[in-house]
Point group: D2
Chain length 361, copies 4
């Protein structure tokens, strides 16, 4: 296990999907930052199950309690303990997994690594673990917004084999993202994505997709070459998310098909005398350091592994069997992945901001 994240703004998470609860300890957050339960709860409400017909019908209110580190509506500079009690546990749903490792889940690998596994529902491999990230990420977002004026917005950019959405990273807002259940600010694409998810759900199947995310207002100079470049930290953060299989910054894989003369971002003079770039194929970072342009990333999420359709596979003994999942699961993780991607981006950027502050005179 390695459930500690960050160097200065450091988070330690805990909690199984089906134990007493889960949470996070945020260590290193500066003092005197306005922070309330409401700020954190708002982020959790965007992640919780049961919010729409597109997500699992499981109902978990995910109420957060602040255990420490906050007094009179502001941080103390001390560790912020955050706790979310588990409420809707139905271990019986997972009985099969005691004998049959679910395909493309972590049942088998946890068994191999730990010599045992958490009963019922995947333990730390369950997507439920991400609630703690979202809670901690809400603190990081607050710090980014109030100390540096930095904002983080993510949205569903693609679902399945549908054409991707058309979204302008320079202007997209969280309000626009939240106008629909699928969390795509391109309304036409949102409709297509919704239809696709619904049809997969009805077929007992699942779909994957891509979440895009922009960090805006970030000053030039964040990111620690050579091993903690902004894109390295972001990539590590995103690939630590359940079901994520890929990461891009700026032009990403598509950019590899261009020539240098097409790809380079020429510098231009901004009105305020600073330099900007005419294009942003770099995705807001050059040499691992932010250049003042929006930081734009994309994260690939595979189709949900748990499906209602029967799957031929083998049990732990190697005996052929057919697995039929009975739990209540998301036909597509994308809509709920949006606040999770934002949380991880915020955790990375807050840490990089503090690292740079430590260097400045």
């Amino acid at each position: 296990m390695s459930s500690v994240f960050g160097r200065l703004f450091r988070v330690s998470t805990f909690g199984e999907s089906h134990g007493a609860g889960l949470g996070a300890v945020v260590d290193g957050c500066p003092p005197r930052l306005p922070l309330s339960v409401t700020d954190i709860q708002a982020a959790l409400d965007r992640r919780r199950p049961g919010q729409s017909a597109l997500t699992t019908p499981r109902q978990e209110p995910d109420q957060v309690e602040i255990l420490s580190g906050v007094q009179d509506g502001a941080t103390l500079g001390t560790p912020i303990g955050l706790l979310i009690r588990n409420t809707d546990q139905k271990p019986a749903d997972y009985k099969d997994t005691d004998e049959v490792p679910r395909p493309s889940h972590a049942d088998y690998t946890y068994q191999m690594k730990y010599g045992m596994r958490a009963r019922s529902g995947g333990g730390r491999a369950s997507a439920r673990e991400t609630a703690a990230r979202v809670a901690a990420g809400a603190v990081a977002s607050q710090l980014l917004r109030l100390r540096w004026g930095v904002e983080v917005v993510a949205w569903v950019d693609a679902v399945g084999d549908e054409d991707p959405a058309l979204v302008d990273p320079a202007t997209v807002t969280q309000d626009a993202v939240d106008t629909n259940a699928v969390r795509c600010p391109d309304i036409d694409a949102a409709d297509r994505f919704t239809d696709l998810i619904t049809s997969a759900r009805d077929a007992g199947d699942s779909v994957g997709g891509v979440v895009a995310c922009v960090v805006r207002g970030c000053p030039a100079g964040w990111g620690e070459p050579v091993f903690e470049k902004a894109e390295a930290r972001l990539a590590g953060a995103m690939l630590s998310l359940p079901a994520s299989k890929g990461f891009e910054i700026g032009s990403g894989f598509a950019g590899t098909r261009l020539r240098g003369s097409q790809h380079n971002d020429a510098f231009v003079a901004r009105a305020d005398g600073s330099l900007g770039t005419a294009t942003n194929r770099s995705g807001g970072v050059q040499g691992g350091i932010t250049n003042g342009e929006p930081v734009v990333i994309r994260v690939a999420f595979k189709p949900t592994s748990t499906i209602a359709m029967p799957q031929p596979t083998v049990d732990y003994e190697g005996k052929a069997t057919v697995l039929e999942a009975k739990g209540r699961h998301d036909p597509c993780v994308l809509p709920r992945a949006v606040p999770i991607v934002e949380a991880m981006a915020a955790l990375v950027m807050a840490d990089l901001g503090m690292l740079q502050a430590g260097r400045d005179d």
Copy 2:
């Protein structure tokens, strides 16, 4: 700066492209591992400039010296100091960059972060920095191979807009990769890639591409959920490389277009009684932990930023100018990126292997 990498197998690198030299300190390598200068030099020779018509004509022998940690051909368990002296410095080539930040380079961001920049050639942002990684990675490869029988093989999988190569990750060897200068074991693709790179070079332009890499023989159980999952560590490592813009594991972005019923890897019984998977869309990891299948990743590299064609841009004062690079640069970083990707993969996997060993009874 953050030039320290890893938790148990820990590397600290140093060195500017045009200072006295560069190198690495490998801290935490177990004792009694056979290791000689030859092992490390062989890896460096695959990375060094001037090896073929496809790379920069700069000649830098990159001779490594072992300063400490090795005695009588074996490691002592103490830090292994590695030094590579710089030899072919031509600062005059870079005079322009004192006044004009090169598009899509790190000149501007280093200026903004550090309030100054290394004269001549990008300092730590130069690709030359990766020589230290390759030297350290050779030690990690040795540990992986001799302690666990793990091998790491990378190759050029795509260049520009050419169709990707056809390579079987289960069987590809480093010898097959090294049969041609472009380092692609699919000979037909190698020819196409070579032609494309040559034509870009002749046009004063550059091309990007994709390096693929496989880690074979890795036991099930490596990778530390939730923040140091194998894919998270690999993604962070790869995005820390100069010019990298994307990362995929297993099915990656393409996998997001499939349904769960198409994507899941059914388990099968292997001859030795253990479980394998019929397909490997997971890319050798499930829930962040290796499952015993080959770990397969892909890394996107943008086209080289330095091109011979004139580029309209602005200087540090915001005044319009046209930049014409005079240095000697690679028209395509891919062939030389192969040993670098292998090195970073080896550093990650050696660290994860040791982390798991610390847990075992």
Copy 3:
């Protein structure tokens, strides 16, 4: 704030003395270790206030709840979340400290560092913070005992200007330590210490002293030169405790008065063929690595800063005043420091044990 401790066996603590609660997240504990609430509660009961006439009369039951990481009486290998609710909060007792920084407390330095301070009772600087360490330490002790047969025993070795106790580190047991309220296994010394503490308490004053601690059964080879030598890690751990002012290992400061010919520990052959030492002035470590002899340390604790006697001092504005504490405090921290020293020693040794296991073939 830096509330994270350890490299492989890693603890993150949180909690103010007078907030909702405090606790710890233990990350990295191996799976399948037998562990129950009772194991942890037993350690907390030795630390809690109100156990005897020698400690503060404050009553805090310090009931621990395991939030995660344990199932069916054994660890899962996942983070172990531990929570202790605060119950007996009397903020009114601390009203004065809002205007007058208490001498030799952390009121002033927290104000200077964080620009604010936790109302009422010192926040993270309160000794109450150590409950989280004791809870986490109980997990480490369990690992040490069951995986390696290592045991940790601490005792009160000196109080005030009384002659120190006579205790044999090779044989002292926790049962012997717990036979009296002052936690000194030398009964004659225990009586003298008790009298001294009682007389200081009755005078509205306080006394300091020394806690000694032995780690027995530790195999040779633990400790990571050069910066994480066993004694370096232990010293750092002990000086992180509230009120601690000094650390010794083996012969300590007294040893500096000897000649080398008197101080050196000659090797002897043990019955089992291994080497031991005839004396143990090294305190169980040589070159930062355990040598198989008992690891013996001593920790100096200053007299409790909070005293009932009036103290002339100045307020935050620099105006002369006389401070009279009204809270309920320990006249001597030593008896309750015993389980805390054991906890920190256990956290260090468990981490070093795992670090060494990661290196072994």
Copy 4:
């Protein structure tokens, strides 16, 4: 091995006493700090062997080379590579240690930990390792002095059973320390210490002692509760030094004999409106955070283990033998320990200063 030190100002050291060389990589030093080889060499010259009749007659010039990170007399913000070549190697002196572990040395424990040992002279357990710390510490001292006006001065406070020196931490200077070979600014004590060391040397024996150190000019607010308190970091740093057996801050062990009413440091108003303390038994820290008073510590060093007198012991096989050392060694490590203690204190304080800067608005 764990040869990495610090969180933001991070040092990685390498090098055996008798290999090609040793050195350090300083990662995280801010840019634009004036720094030259001369600054570092001056510190090394105070540590090197052969400086006086009180030290080993071994002659090692310990010339440092800056490999990277410095350009035109100032830091670049990139890793600073420092190399010191070994020159005076006489492996034959150590031949015996291949068969007989030297009492109170690390020969035996390295053997047990690594399954082998560096031939000749103790490898990383040799005091020679500290040259790399001194080189890195010189960079930290420069940062402390030029960025914050902080200065670090250490001196020999006691040798053997002689009465300790009388030195005022508030005013002592490095010049005063360097007026004599024993490095004690109390001239009377210096004479006594010199006589004692000389007599021990002539007897083929060795003596120990205590180095004291003060950090002056440090602003209030440095130190990271709870696990990286200033005194915790300093204690860990000092106990990582070869031959150190104890650490005190402020009143230390002597303070445990006082009552709280005698020990507390009353606050007083300073002329500039800030608060100071009338006494400094706290040693400049309260609750782990600097309070603006001088930080005063003491470090115990045991008598040198290598002595010329014959020592009865056993060989690796357990067979009785008598060891007679033939190498050239210090009869007392104290005079050369002074710059080493300063280096470690500087490394800790520079790191804490940067950590606090990262928190500030």
